[in-house]
């Protein structure tokens, strides 16, 4: 292991290290901690200039209550869920199939099609902005969650295909051959053999795509408008406009917006990190 395991070092070094980590962590997360503290401060702290001090009193319930019951935040959150979940399902389903096709079959152009997905995934998505917006308009899906979901599925399919295909490639090909010798139809091989084996990849991808989509802002701005279809990332800005300089509420709103991916991350940490390293691209 590098650097040298700390257990083999003198006791003093060990203690220094052990106490350094939390300090470093506090510094590293200082901005977030600040926001968290903001979000439980009373309004008066800001007018009286107590920005960085300890909250004069705990107003967390009031602040979060306001966010949940007196603003459009719940609506935005709901939108985010309704956008993110179908996208995750759609992208994972489509890419499991494309990944299977590209990973298992040999046919002319296989690698080129694969590269098409990969390259498309790395495209600066701004170049898609004008045409995709027009396409969405033409489909009559502008400013609908469906429009956003369809696009996200398509775009994420590129990334997911890269991921899935490489994962399937790494599966022992003999499993598929064994099934073929046993007379199993191709789609059944996909369904009964490959899909169950891809569970870890599917889990990792789902978490990854979930955070990507949840945190998307650009496309939310380009393809949707207004509280009836915008996700929380876009909503938070209009929320902020609504509450102007009310930092305690803005902070509470930001925390609420950040919470689902964070929760996802903590619940599915292992998959998440596996996903990042396996796919290793956004």
């Amino acid at each position: 292991m590098f650097p040298r395991p700390i257990e083999t070092q003198p006791r003093a070094t060990q203690i220094t290290y052990q106490s350094l980590i939390p300090v470093a962590l506090l510094l590293w997360l200082a901005p977030l901690i600040a926001v968290a503290i903001f979000s439980i401060k009373p309004d008066t702290d800001f007018t009286s200039g107590n920005y960085w001090g300890w909250p004069a009193e705990f107003e967390g319930f009031a602040n979060y209550g306001k966010v949940f019951f007196e603003s459009d935040m719940p609506r935005y959150l709901m939108n985010s869920v309704l956008i993110t979940v179908p996208t995750v399902i759609g992208a994972v389903a489509l890419s499991a199939m494309t990944g299977f096709a590209l990973g298992v079959y040999k046919f002319r152009g296989n690698l080129w099609i694969f590269f098409m997905f990969v390259a498309g995934n790395f495209v600066p998505f701004q170049i898609l902005m004008v045409p995709v917006r027009d396409l969405t308009l033409d489909l009559g899906l502008y400013n609908t969650k469906t429009g956003l979901v369809l696009f996200h599925i398509a775009f994420q399919t590129g990334f997911c295909t890269l991921f899935m295909r490489n994962f399937i490639r790494a599966l022992p090909f003999e499993l598929i051959e064994a099934a073929r010798v046993e007379g199993v139809a191709e789609w059944r091989i996909f369904w009964f053999i490959v899909l169950p084996l891809m569970k870890p990849a599917i889990a990792a991808l789902s978490v990854l795509v979930f955070t990507f989509i949840w945190n998307d802002y650009f496309w939310a701005v380009v393809l949707t408008q207004g509280a009836e279809s915008q996700p929380v990332t876009a909503g938070i800005t209009s929320f902020n406009a609504q509450y102007r300089a009310a930092y305690h509420l803005m902070s509470a709103g930001s925390i609420v917006a950040a919470l689902p991916p964070v929760a996802m991350f903590f619940l599915m940490q292992r998959h998440f990190i596996a996903g990042l390293t396996l796919g290793a691209v956004k």
Partner: protein, 309 residues
């Protein structure tokens, strides 16, 4: 596949016979089709369309008017475009600092002490949070009147600075905000990379007398090359796509000094005052061409890998 259950009198010509004989061709096609259709419709065709639109003058409402290369000509004299291009370059270069930064933290955390897993994931935290929130947080951090930065600066007797209001500093301010999650990302990549470093090689190097930085440079870093490569790719992509933070933190300002290409094209094509689809598309094309260098590099190295197998 479903037809097999029915008795079929024409088993020999066409029908299931044909399906059966060609199923190794049909199967990949059918599996590929839904994903490919989606992807082509929403990604590939739009790229081509963008190229096409960039040759037109179009306000997105009326009829597009073909203007040839006029948009590109205008770009070559457009100061705002020039600023955006330079800013993109700054992003590219400075964003790469995330790689050594991530490596440093990863090395710091690559120990096995109690609770280290929790620490690792907490350090990774910033990456999971939406850039919108990151942008807001840093905007407050930089706030000229009450921001923590200036509170601290005052504390040590330096006059306050308005990072995001100063055209010479604003871009750097935004990049620093962007580095925060990106460093976290690189850190995780390196942590997993370090996990995969062959312990026997480290031991061999220890017997060979390599220590500290020399060990890092000669033995560890070469083994971390895959992680570095990936970190490089994602950082470049992140740098070129940067939009959210700029939009949240400065909205391109002050007076356009923090624009990058992606933001500028949004401004030109879709924002409140933007009605120039053709021009926006031309900016996108330029951005795409820059990115193409990296895409080509990535595909090339992937192609080599595939060959290597």
């Amino acid at each position: 596949m479903t037809t097999a259950t029915l008795p079929d009198t024409h088993a020999d010509e066409g029908g299931p016979g044909w399906i059966r004989r060609n199923r190794m061709t049909l199967a990949p096609l059918l599996f590929l089709l839904p994903g490919a259709i989606f992807f082509i419709a929403y990604v590939i065709l739009p790229i081509l369309q963008s190229f096409q639109i960039s040759f037109f003058r179009w306000d997105g409402l009326g009829e597009p008017e073909f203007v040839g290369l006029a948009n590109y000509q205008e770009l070559s004299t457009d100061r705002a475009f020039e600023v955006s291009l330079w800013n993109n370059l700054k992003w590219l270069v400075l964003y790469l600092l995330a790689i050594p930064g991530g490596l440093f933290i990863a090395l710091f955390l690559n120990q096995t002490v109690a609770g280290i897993r929790i620490y690792k994931s907490l350090f990774f935290f910033p990456f999971v949070i939406s850039q919108v929130v990151v942008g807001l947080v840093f905007t407050w951090f930089y706030d000229p009147t009450f921001g923590l930065l200036n509170t601290l600066l005052e504390g040590i007797g330096i006059s306050p600075i308005n990072v995001l209001g100063d055209p010479t500093l604003a871009t750097y301010g935004v990049i620093i905000a962007g580095l925060w999650p990106q460093i976290a990302y690189c850190m995780i990549l390196y942590l997993t990379g370090l996990n995969a470093v062959d312990p026997e090689q480290i031991e061999a190097a220890r017997l060979d007398g390599a220590k500290g930085l020399r060990m890092l440079w000669h033995v560890i870093l070469p083994q971390l090359r895959p992680a570095t490569f990936i970190a490089f790719v994602v950082t470049i992509i992140g740098a070129l796509r940067s939009f959210d933070l700029i939009s949240i933190m400065t909205n391109g300002g002050p007076f356009g000094s923090t624009r990058v290409l992606s933001f500028y094209m949004f401004e030109k094509a879709l924002s409140e005052y933007g009605f120039r689809m053709g021009y926006g598309a031309a900016i996108a094309v330029v951005l795409f061409l820059i990115m193409l260098v990296f895409i080509a590099y990535f595909l090339w190295s992937m192609w080599r890998q595939e060959r290597g197998h």
